[in-house]
Amino acid sequence: MLGLLYAVVGGGIRAGTPILYATLGEVIAERAGIVNLGVEGAILAGACAGFITTAHTQNPWLGIAAAALAGGAASLVHAFMVVTLRANQIASGLALMFLCLGVTSFVGRPYVAVKINAVPQLAIPGLSDIPVVGGLFFQHDALVYGAYLLAPLIWIVLTFTKWGLALRAVGERPDVAFAAGLSPAAIQYAAVVAGGILAGLAGAHLSLAYARSWVEGMSNGRGFIAVALVIFATWHPLRSVVGALVFGAVFALQLQIQARGVALSPYFLDMTPYLLTLAGLLLWGRTRRYAMPEALKSVFEGVT
């Protein structure tokens, strides 16, 4: 039983990492009032660009940088569509997903067979030697630590800094923010691109650290999971960590149960994150404290 717990927690941290990056990115964008269903595409862009760069330079750190840039660039398209051209956010996001799927399949194709120098495992000196806990929490690759450090950082920036306040103001009341001398468009651009950069890092973790290979469409729906988790986490960076861990743990639990020979349909377990999110919507839907940013409502009400 303890072994199972250990395996599920460890697996949850690993599997939760790319989802956490993507979720944090989507939290930033949505707090500024922009929904980006194109996260799935930005993850692919990051995974592909990171892999290609690493293949050419054999330097995974350059690969990570390229992944962040590619994710940001992909999301820039979405920002242009919805902020400047005022296109429908849901439709533009889906279109971005198709675009990235197409471009990465095309551009990444010659690299499928290439061997790369992956992001190394980084055992934290001292901490990693603690029995049980060390192995669980302090023997991962650098991108794993990055994700869990970024979450509180983003929370602090959003909650306590001038920038965070401006971003949230734009997400709640763009007109008031405008009257207060802020530029809602510039802030929304920045938020969407920042979200894309994080999605690009999610992709980097997938292709450079986790699977250490590139195959077209390898994000396998993680971007859409992130969109769901943002709601589950009620637009909060720290609750996003909980969401990503729950999702990762369910994923790991499903595999552990199979490996232990317990006959239980893995597909029901796979459903739980989505059902939990729905349940969250039902329970929290009308509570003021957990309400979605005001500007999002216009997207979700279909009035564009």
């Binding site: 790319p18 499928v112 067979a113 250490r212 490996a259 006959a263």
Partner: protein
Amino acid sequence: MIRERMLIPMVMVCAVAVIAPGLAAPLEAQDKKFKVGFVYVGPKDDYGYNYEHDRGRKAVEAQLKDVEVMTAENIPETAEVERVMEQMIQRGAKLLFPTSYGYLDPALNVGKRHPDVVLLHAGGFKHSSNVGTYWYYIYNPMYLSGLAAGKVTKKNVMGFVAAHPIPQTLQNINALTYGARSVNPQIKTHVIYTGEWCNPGKAAEAANSLIELGADIISQHQDCPRPVVETAAKRGVYSVGYHSADLKQFNEKGWITGAAWNWGKLYVQMTKDVMDGKASQWVGKHTRGGIESGFLDLAPFGSSVPADVQKMVMAKRKEIVDGKYAVFQGPIKDNKGKELLKAGEKPTFDFIEKMSWYAEGVVGEVPK
């Protein structure tokens, strides 16, 4: 506004200019080359199932000069593949290799509509007058890999990442376990199914899960084996390869051996026979064989396998090739203790081809 008005007719004129010559040109090329089509479920470069079939395709292209080859990759195992095969036939293909397991029913449908086209399916359990199946029992090298793995393991736990619980996969799981337990009766095998031929993230996490369960030998049967081998390398455990010997480079330190295809010779032979009007040798029946065919073999050993173990495995390989030893022969019990074959009893074709049980030492039960 004016600019916009100008732009649109211009674009439309361009579009017509592009489309018109395309429609005018005849679809079938004029040359007299014999055309062969290969259809893959995943990318050609996956270092796995599709990679190996594509190596076979390259052999056909290199060795038969008056043959033209068409390929299509990433084609799902649904009605989509029927359209791809039809399009190949429209372009003059007379021989098709729908290589993936799930292409069987679409291949039979296409075959019904085109009696003059030969379709050869890898591993199916149905055939027709112009559809044949071929498969070579790759569980033999998996058994041999098990012998080496059983000697090398320190934890006596093996992990197996699989896509679907189909008979071919169960043959491999059982053979690997038999091999390992024949030299080390303590061994247990844990299995995880990903449900997809290629999902790199899930395959990597499945390997991680098995390692956390204590496995220090990771093997697999799914189409993109690379993430699983890379994960084994990352976690410092051993790999038993599957599909391709070229996987060794991803876990040099922990490589034991594995099962590897070599389709080239077979595909050249089949193509020649169909060209020479001898298609009947392959259609309307199931063609099966083992290591002796030369179409599959044991992958090279890694440095982790001691010389005496290598010698022992190669001796067993010779016994199998000479027909002196069979992996599946009575007595056979499943992992619940139920007797399936009595001592001395030989398995039938169906016993192998419809396998749906786990051997002793495999944990759990086949998903229902």
